[in-house]
Structure formats: C-alpha cells, structure tokens
C-alpha cells in the first residue's frame, strides 16, 4: 500500500530532513507518526502525496511509483489520497457543501453526481444539517469535519492527516478521532502525524517515531513516548 525504501530528503537550503527511511504501511492500517518538531514528520507525510520529492530512495503509494511519476500523473495519485491539515484549508467564501463540491468539480464529476456525493460525505461526518453554512459560521471541530468530508469525497484508499487535532480543544479532538476511527473501520488506511500524546496513548495504534530524519521506533499499539 505505502512503501518507502531508504528514502532521503535534503532541501535545497541544505536542511537534511530525512536520512534513510524505510517503512511499510499495509492497507487498512491506522498509523500515528510522532516525533519532535522539525524531526521530519511533515516531510515524511508530504512525500506520500508527492508534495515533496525524495532526494534518494524508492516510494510506492497505491501502486504509484512516486519517483518515476510523471508530472501529469500526479493528479491521479492525489485523487487516490485524502489529505487533512491542522488549519483545515477550507475556502472561506464557500459553504461547507461547496467546499466539498469543489474537490469533486475539480475532477470533473457531473452536477448530479456531485450533489449526491456531497450529501453522502457530509452526513458521514455528521454535518448534513450545516451544509449551507460558511466556515466562519462553524466551530473549529465542524470545520475540520468539513475538511475530512472533502478528503473522503473521492473515495480515497488512504487518508493522510497532518496534525488534524492541532488546533482543536480536547473534546473536539476526540470527536475527530472517532470520525477517523469510523473511517478506518471501513477499510481506509489512515496515516496521521500528531503531537497529541493523550490521543496516542489512549487510542492505541501503530506508532512510528521519527527523530533527526530517521525512524527510531515503530511499534504496534505503541505509546506517544515524549514528555511535553
């Protein structure tokens, strides 16, 4: 499903972000990626949807060979992946429904198909009754739900989340985690970078810890393992 073989990444400014990462993530897994700030978590995640290219090494995601992937094929890769961010990345002038529809419009679905799918995913995240509200009228948790709904819209096989609870209070965070759990139960792989110790320690899943650009720990049902 996702496989990295001895992946290195050096940024043009000389930063050594990753120094030889090898990892395999199977279909349907739920994986936390933890580690101190600047350890390479974000780079690790960005490599998967080809936001960043590796300097060296091999990466395979959903059957795409990332290093050989032609530029014009990148959209195909991204349509098979849902991405969720700490800052939601919603368009402020579009309603919840329009934000989700935007992702579907972009890949060329018909209006009818879009309407149907928007309703489906918004009800899946429990926001069917708020679909015509603007992001500014929604709480942070609700906004993140819209973002999750958008990431689900294309029926991705993997959801990649970069600190999805970073801007949310604990109660709301748990709501989002339950949503991810629910999505994972349906067979979607989830890779989530997080700093949330409480969540990692209570909802025990595979933990990959990255420090100084290398994987220092990779355990099933692991712990967060860092003192704040």
């Amino acid at each position: 499903m996702i496989e990295m073989q001895d992946v290195w990444k050096e940024y043009p400014n000389g930063t050594q972000a990753l120094n030889g990462i090898s990892v395999q993530i199977q279909k349907g897994e739920f994986v936390y990626v933890v580690g101190p700030s600047g350890a390479g978590k974000s780079t690790f995640i960005k490599l998967m949807y080809r936001e960043v290219r590796p300097t060296r090494g091999h990466i395979f995601v959903n059957g795409f060979n990332i290093e050989r992937l032609k530029d014009h094929k990148i959209p195909l890769l991204r349509r098979s992946i849902g991405v969720v961010f700490q800052d939601f990345k919603l368009l402020p002038k579009l309603t919840a429904a329009e934000n989700v529809a935007f992702a579907l419009e972009v890949i060329g679905l018909s209006h009818k198909q879009i309407r149907k799918r928007v309703r489906e995913v918004l009800s899946q995240v429990g926001l069917e009754d708020k679909m015509d509200m603007l992001p500014s009228q929604l709480s942070g948790g609700e906004q993140q739900r819209v973002a999750v709904a958008r990431s689900l819209a294309n029926n991705p096989t993997v959801i990649i989340a970069d600190e999805p609870t970073g801007n949310l209070d604990p109660d709301t965070s748990w709501g989002i985690m339950r949503l991810f759990q629910h999505i994972n139960d349906r067979g979607t792989t989830i890779v989530m970078a997080t700093h949330n110790r409480e969540i990692v320690n209570s909802m025990r899943r595979r933990v990959i810890a990255i420090e100084n650009g290398v994987i220092v720990r990779d355990e099933e049902k692991g712990y967060y393992g860092y003192d704040e």
Binding site: D71, L76, R78, R79, V83, K89, F102, S110
Partner: protein, 296 residues
C-alpha cells in the same frame, strides 16, 4: 465536457471582475496599443492601395527643345520607343500642348497665351515604361538623347508623400511592437495578481487532484478576455471613425485625389487583425504568467 468549458469561462470572468482595477488597466493598455496599431494599419492599407495605383499609371514626360519640329519629335519618339523596357510613347504636339494648357488655365487666363506670337511650348513626349521600377533608368537614358531638353516625372509629389507615409508607418510599427510587449507584460502581471489572490484555491485544487490544465484554463481565459475587450473597443472606434471619414470624403483622399480603401473591406480586415492580435496577446500573457506561477 460542456459544463467544464462553462466552468472555466465562468471562473475566468470572475477573475477579471474580482481583479477589477488591474484588469481595467491592462485592458486600457491593450486598447491604446491596438488603437495605434489599427491607425497604422489604416494608413498602411491606403498607402498600399495608393502605391499600386500610382505605379500602374507611372509615366514621365520628356520635353524637346522649343525649336524642334514635328518630324524631329516623331524621330525622337521612335528612338525612345526602341529603348528596352519602354511600353509606349505619346507625342503631344506644340498645338495640342497649347490647347491643353488653355483648357487647364480656363478661358480668362487662357487669353494670356494669345499674347505670344509664336507657340512657346515645346513638343512633349509622354513615356510609359513596361515595368514601373525601370522608370528612373529609362528617364536617364531619354535625358541623354540629342534634342531632349528636360525630363519630368509627374508623380514626384506623390512619391514624396509616399516616402513620408512609409516613414510614418515604420515609426508606427516600432511603436506598436513596443506597446504590444508592454500590454503582454501588463496582462501577465494582472493574471499573476489573480493567481496570487487565488493561491489558496490553487493549493487545494492541487491537493484534491486537479490537473494542471484544469487549474490553468481560468487564468488563460482571463487573459483572453482582457485581450478581447481590449481589441473590441479600438475596432469599433476605428471602423466607425473610418467609415464616417470615408463617407464625408466621398471615398477620395482629397489632397491627392487617390481613392481611399473601401470602408467595408477595411473594417472587416481591421476587425479580424485586431481581434486576433488582442486574443493572442491575452493568451500569451496568460500562458506566461501561469507557466511561471503554477509549477505543480
């Protein structure tokens, strides 16, 4: 497919409106550019028509010595006719010349000529070369012939005006090229600003798997719209302006009595050229800005 085209058009129009003042500025630049270009084109078309007109009727006159007889005239005419490249030689006798001059001067002034005891006019030979470009060479050869006093080109004035118009046109071309480059630059800058104000949308589009062309189209449409509007305005103004000028001048360039290019023909040509150039610089401006700013 259709809905996608409509989407790109809609988004392109939105871009133009959202970026109102910059769009307006670049449209104005295109309008000025194409107005100058259109003006030069009108000039060029007319100059071109005039020059074919003039060259087709290009001929020159050779005047013989005043005391030359009609026989000498015919002999010299035959001699000129024998020169290579001469199509025809017409002999205007002293009497014919006098009658013509009387007619030109009118009855009152014509009486002045009666004061001469003898006809003061020389025999005139009107020489028409087969190839208008050979006129200078033939004129020089005729000048050498014994008995020929002077050689005069009746279209010297026209030729001088021509040269002036050609210079005006060439300067116009230089201006237009400079202005075209400026317009393209302005358009691509305008679109760059739109791209900047839409970078969040673009970022999200990329993340959810939009193809590069899907992202590009609205910006290219934006550029083409700016170019198109920038072309329509000068086309309307120039075509309307030329038409009313044409009607008022009754189709003739009054100073030189050359026919003007037909208003209808010129309007169509002008519209096609300016719209095509407007669209092209808009398109090019769009492509340029998108290429540099949408590295995916």
């Amino acid at each position: 497919m259709m809905s996608r085209i409509f989407r790109h058009l809609r988004e392109g129009i939105k871009n133009v409106i959202r970026n109102g003042w910059m769009s307006f500025a670049s449209m104005s630049a295109v309008i000025v550019t194409l107005a100058v270009l259109g003006f030069s084109l009108i000039l060029t078309f007319n100059v071109a028509q005039m020059s074919t007109d003039v060259t087709s009727q290009l001929e020159f006159s050779a005047f013989l010595n005043v005391n030359a007889t009609q026989q000498t005239g015919s002999a010299i005419a035959a001699q000129i006719k024998a020169l290579p490249g001469v199509e025809s030689v017409q002999v205007i006798s002293k009497n014919e010349g006098l009658a013509q001059m009387k007619k030109e001067l009118g009855s009152e002034m014509g009486d002045v000529l009666n004061a001469f005891k003898q006809n003061p006019l020389p025999i005139q030979l009107v020489v028409k070369p087969a190839d208008p470009h050979q006129i200078d060479r033939i004129a020089r050869q005729v000048e050498e012939i014994q008995g020929v006093a002077t050689v005069r080109d009746p279209h010297q004035l026209a030729a001088a005006i021509f040269r002036t118009l050609a210079i005006v046109r060439d300067v116009g071309v230089v201006f237009v090229v400079a202005l075209l480059i400026t317009s393209m630059f302005l358009i691509s800058n305008t679109i760059r600003i739109t791209i900047f104000s839409r970078r969040r949308e673009i970022e999200i589009m990329k993340l959810v798997g939009a193809t590069n062309w899907f992202i590009r189209w609205p910006f290219i449409v934006e550029g083409m719209l700016i170019g198109l509007v920038g072309a329509v305005v000068p086309v309307l103004v120039l075509v309307y302006g030329y038409r009313s000028l044409y009607i008022r001048a009754k189709g003739v360039f009054s100073g030189l009595s050359f026919p003007l290019v037909q208003a209808g023909d010129l309007g169509v040509k002008l519209a096609v050229i300016l719209l095509a150039i407007g669209l092209f610089i808009g398109l090019w401006g769009g492509v340029m800005s998108v290429r540099r700013f949408l590295r995916v």
